[in-house]
Every structure is written in structure tokens, then in C-alpha cells.
């Protein structure tokens, strides 16, 4: 047995990570191909891949994927544009925090998916409604997490900046923002992951495109292979965006790793 907190080697790490995927698919294949689970309820991996191929080549699933990505990214960017500056202001200026914090803390527990029916009444079933679901789901989370990060800036760095002649605005611009930039980027990465759940729910209702729309249509046809393929595509896109974010963060903030 390894000792607690003892690091694992690079090769062993990769091997272990991959082997769970293999084990998972093997168990799935065993249950379905072995006939232990009815095909009606759960497609086997091979059917899933065939269905997926068909979706992509015959039913224009690539367009649905593109629509979903655009909705997530669009709504998320809108949320970030509002939330990051507000979060920085709240973290830096305590009266601003006292004004917004109670409401934001309350609002972040409002389930974004529960707003879908209301938003359809307000904004119809067009793209605006989809973007709004993502926006509502992300904006309050980002505001709070950024405010907390900025509020926890090392006081001695702020004091050092003052003794070097920085003005209060200078402290915000030249200390609070750069000191917390990596944490803000990390917050965005995290919340982007959550935004994916909201978009699928938004696409379940009143949508004519997107991965969520495909999944709900497939349910009517009992096409479990397609549903699983859709879910896996979401997971893969999430994984890729996560990698991109991490890579970008490392490029943007070399001082953290130096």
C-alpha cells in the first residue's frame, strides 16, 4: 500500500487513469452484450458508437453540437462580463459588498433550470432564452467566488503597495486584480463546467436544435444508444474545454509555477 500523500509516478498515474475508463466500458459491455440488461433500456457500446456515427453523418448532429457550444460560451461570456468586474468591486469595496452580497448569496441558490418556463414566457423559445438560462446559472456563482478571492488578497502586499505610493484605485488595478487573476480564471473554468448542465436542461424544452434537443427526441424513440452518445459528447467537450482553460492559465500566469 502507498503511504498517505506519497506522490505517484507519471506512467503509473496515466495507466491508472486510463484503466478505470477501460474497466467502466468493460462492465458496461458485459452487462449489455452478455444479455443481463434489456437492449430497450440500455444500448451496448457498439450500438452506441454506430448510432453516434449515424447521428453525425446522416442527421447533422455536428450542427446540434455547434449550437450547444455557442449557447454555453455565449451565455457564459455575458455572465463573466457582468460578474467579474462586480465581484472585484465587491471584494475591494466593503460597502459595495454589503449592498450586493446578501442578494447574490440568495440568488445563487435559485435553480437556473427552474427559470426555464418563466424565461420562455418572457423571451420566447429563441436563442435569447437559452443564453439567459446560462447567464442566470453562472453569474451569481462567479460574482461570489471572485468577491471572496479578491477579499482574501494578502494584506501585506496591499500595505507594501501603499508604502510605494499606490493610490486606492492603484491598489485595485495593480495589486488586487493581478494577484487574483489566476484564481478568477480558475473560477471561470469551474463555473463553465456547471454551465453545461444548464444548457442541456434549457434545450429539453422548446428547442429545435442542440444536444439536449437530440436527447429528448431520442427518448421518444427509445434510442438509448443516441442518448448515451450525446451524454458522452458533452463529457468530451467538457474535458477539452477544461484542458484548454488549464493550458491557457499556465501560459497567462507563469509566475505561479515559476
Amino acid at each position: 500500500m502507498p503511504r498517505p500523500l506519497e506522490p505517484v509516478g507519471q506512467t503509473a498515474k496515466v495507466t491508472l487513469g486510463i484503466s478505470f475508463f477501460v474497466l467502466f466500458v468493460a462492465a458496461w459491455a458485459y452487462a449489455t452484450l452478455g444479455g443481463y440488461v434489456s437492449k430497450t433500456f440500455l444500448a451496448d457500446p457498439i450500438t452506441m458508437l454506430k448510432d453516434g456515427w449515424e447521428l453525425l453523418t446522416r442527421f447533422g448532429f455536428a450542427y446540434d453540437i455547434a449550437m450547444t457550444i455557442w449557447r454555453v460560451v455565449g451565455g457564459f461570456i455575458l455572465a463573466a462580463i457582468v460578474a467579474v468586474p462586480l465581484g472585484i468591486l465587491m471584494g475591494a469595496y466593503k460597502p459595495v459588498e454589503a449592498f450586493f452580497e446578501p442578494f447574490v448569496s440568495f440568488a445563487r441558490y435559485l435553480p437556473a433550470s427552474a427559470f426555464v418556463p418563466l424565461l420562455i414566457l418572457w423571451a420566447g423559445i429563441g436563442e435569447t432564452q437559452k443564453l439567459l438560462v446560462i447567464f442566470i446559472g453562472s453569474v451569481f456563482q462567479i460574482v461570489l467566488m471572485v468577491a471572496v478571492a479578491v477579499g482574501q488578497t494578502r494584506r501585506d502586499l496591499v500595505e507594501a503597495a501603499y508604502t510605494l505610493g499606490a493610490s486606492p484605485q492603484g491598489v485595485v488595478r495593480r495589486v488586487l486584480v493581478p494577484a487574483n487573476a489566476p484564481e478568477i480564471a480558475e473560477t471561470l473554468r469551474l463555473v463553465l463546467g456547471w454551465a453545461w448542465t444548464y444548457v442541456i436542461v434549457a434545450e429539453f424544452i422548446g428547442s429545435s436544435s442542440g444536444i439536449g434537443h437530440m436527447i429528448i427526441e431520442s427518448q421518444a424513440l427509445l434510442a438509448t444508444g443516441q442518448i448515451i452518445f450525446g451524454i458522452i459528447v458533452i463529457g468530451l467537450i467538457g474535458l477539452i474545454s477544461d484542458f484548454l482553460f488549464k493550458w491557457l492559465n499556465q501560459r497567462l500566469f507563469p509566475w505561479r509555477l515559476a
Partner: protein, 266 residues
């Protein structure tokens, strides 16, 4: 006490009381302190830990407010931190996202010094603190001694009226500490900046200063002021001279009584 001739800094009856935590009794950190620092002087404030010497320095820096009394720099009262009082902290306070060069440039940029002049000043201070070749390193890539040298350069590059140092070498190992003292003293001997240096290390206090101010255990007040008449330039060999040993013996006696009191109080 009015600011007399040549008095750069006057600490005029400054005291500091911290209000009690959860209804407890308030803590008297600093009792009324009077201290005048002449232009170009190097003063060390020596005291046991927790005696309020850092609080006093923070008040001079404008990072803390006195409960009573005032601090005058060139006759003007200090109300908030400013670039006229450069500070070096005990904790490593370089901005981790800036390179050595950009850390030193921080105050210059704030002042709006043009880029060409900025480069010149930075190069001069990088040279003075012996960091050539490390200009583009981030603080994480530097040793503790190098980080404090950068912090000294950062404070001096701003050309403050007075340099405040709060146990800047406290976290360094003994050998590095000795070298840093010589480096700082060398800079002072050339530039004669007014310096207020807080420490609990007796040798350090004597070696650097022209006057050692001894503080009592909490609540801190000034117990003694001991002039140090060792000639300049000083080097490390002086630490073993008879005159140095005599001063050390005397200050050891002064500070020992306070350390005993402080230990009893904690």
C-alpha cells in the same frame, strides 16, 4: 516637542491601545513614545518580541494609527502611508506576479517616471543589491535573501525621505543575515538615507546603528538610548572588537530584564 533643526522624523507622544477582543481588557501595545531622528541618521529600535516596536514602525509608516500623539516627517504630520516613507517588511512582500525589475519599478510607475529614466534607476539598484542576472526572475525563483534585497531596492528606488525596516532579515539564516547587514550598511554609508530599523537581534542593532533605542516589554516604551560610536565604514570584523563586546554586554543586560518580563507575560 517641535521639530528642531536637522530633525527629520519626530515621534511625539505616540501610544497605541488595541481594543479588547470579545469584551476583554484592551491591550496597551505602545506607551507614549518620544523619539527624534536626525537627517541621515541610522537608528535601530531593539526590543523583545511583542514589545510594540513593529506597531510603532507601522504607525510611522502610516499603516496604523496612534491612539494618541502624532508623527511628524519634516514637520508635517503623518496620516496615511506614502512614498516618502519606504518600508521593508519581515514577511516577503514582493509582488509574486512581477519580475525583479517590475517589482523595483512599482513605485516609479506609480509616480509616472518616464521609461528611460526608470530603466536607469532600476539598473543602478539591481547593481547595488547584487542582483545582476536575476532581473527577469519571479520572486518564487529567488532565495529569501534575494527577495529581501529586491524589497530593499524596491523601497530605495522610490527615493523615500526615510527608510523603515521591520525585522527585514528576521527570517534569514545567520550567515545570510550577516551578509545582508553589510550590504545594507554599505548602501547607507554611500547614500546616507535616514533609516529606522526594528530588530530583536542585539548584534544587528549595534552593528548597523549610530544609536540603539531599547524598548521595554509590553506595553512598550523607550527604556534607554545607547549611542554607537564605532567608526565607519564598518565591517564584520568589528563584531568581535572590545568596544563592540562592551556595547553588546550592556544591551544584553538592558534587554534581558525585558525579555524575562515579556516571557512571564505570555
Amino acid at each position: 516637542m517641535a521639530a528642531g533643526l536637522g530633525e527629520k522624523l519626530v515621534i511625539d507622544g505616540v501610544s497605541r491601545v488595541f481594543s479588547g477582543v470579545r469584551g476583554g481588557a484592551p491591550t496597551r501595545a505602545v506607551e507614549p513614545v518620544r523619539l527624534a531622528v536626525a537627517e541621515n541618521d541610522f537608528i535601530t529600535i531593539l526590543g523583545p518580541s511583542g514589545c510594540g516596536k513593529s506597531t510603532l514602525l507601522r504607525i510611522v509608516a502610516g499603516l496604523d494609527r496612534p491612539s494618541a500623539g502624532r508623527v511628524l516627517l519634516d514637520g508635517r504630520p503623518v496620516t496615511r502611508p506614502g512614498p516618502d516613507r519606504g518600508m521593508v517588511f519581515q514577511s516577503y512582500t514582493l509582488f509574486p506576479w512581477l519580475t525583479v525589475t517590475d517589482n523595483i519599478a512599482f513605485g516609479l510607475r506609480e509616480k509616472g517616471v518616464p521609461a528611460a529614466q526608470r530603466r536607469e534607476i532600476i539598473a543602478a539598484y539591481v547593481e547595488k543589491v547584487g542582483l545582476r542576472g536575476f532581473e527577469n526572475h519571479y520572486p518564487k525563483q529567488l532565495s529569501g535573501g534575494m527577495q529581501q534585497r529586491t524589497a530593499i531596492a524596491r523601497a530605495l528606488a522610490n527615493d523615500p525621505e526615510i527608510l523603515l525596516l521591520d525585522e527585514p532579515f528576521g527570517a534569514l539564516d545567520n550567515q545570510t543575515r550577516g551578509l545582508m547587514q553589510e550590504l545594507l550598511l554599505g548602501i547607507w554609508e554611500r547614500e546616507r538615507k535616514t533609516v529606522l530599523f526594528v530588530t530583536h537581534d542585539i548584534e544587528e542593532a549595534i552593528f548597523l546603528a549610530s544609536r540603539v533605542v531599547v524598548m521595554t516589554a509590553r506595553p512598550g516604551r523607550i527604556k534607554a538610548e545607547v549611542p554607537v560610536d564605532l567608526p565607519h565604514p564598518r565591517d564584520y570584523r568589528m563584531k568581535t572588537s572590545p568596544q563592540f563586546s562592551e556595547l553588546k554586554a550592556r544591551l544584553t543586560e538592558e534587554i534581558r530584564a525585558e525579555a524575562v518580563l515579556a516571557a512571564a507575560a505570555h
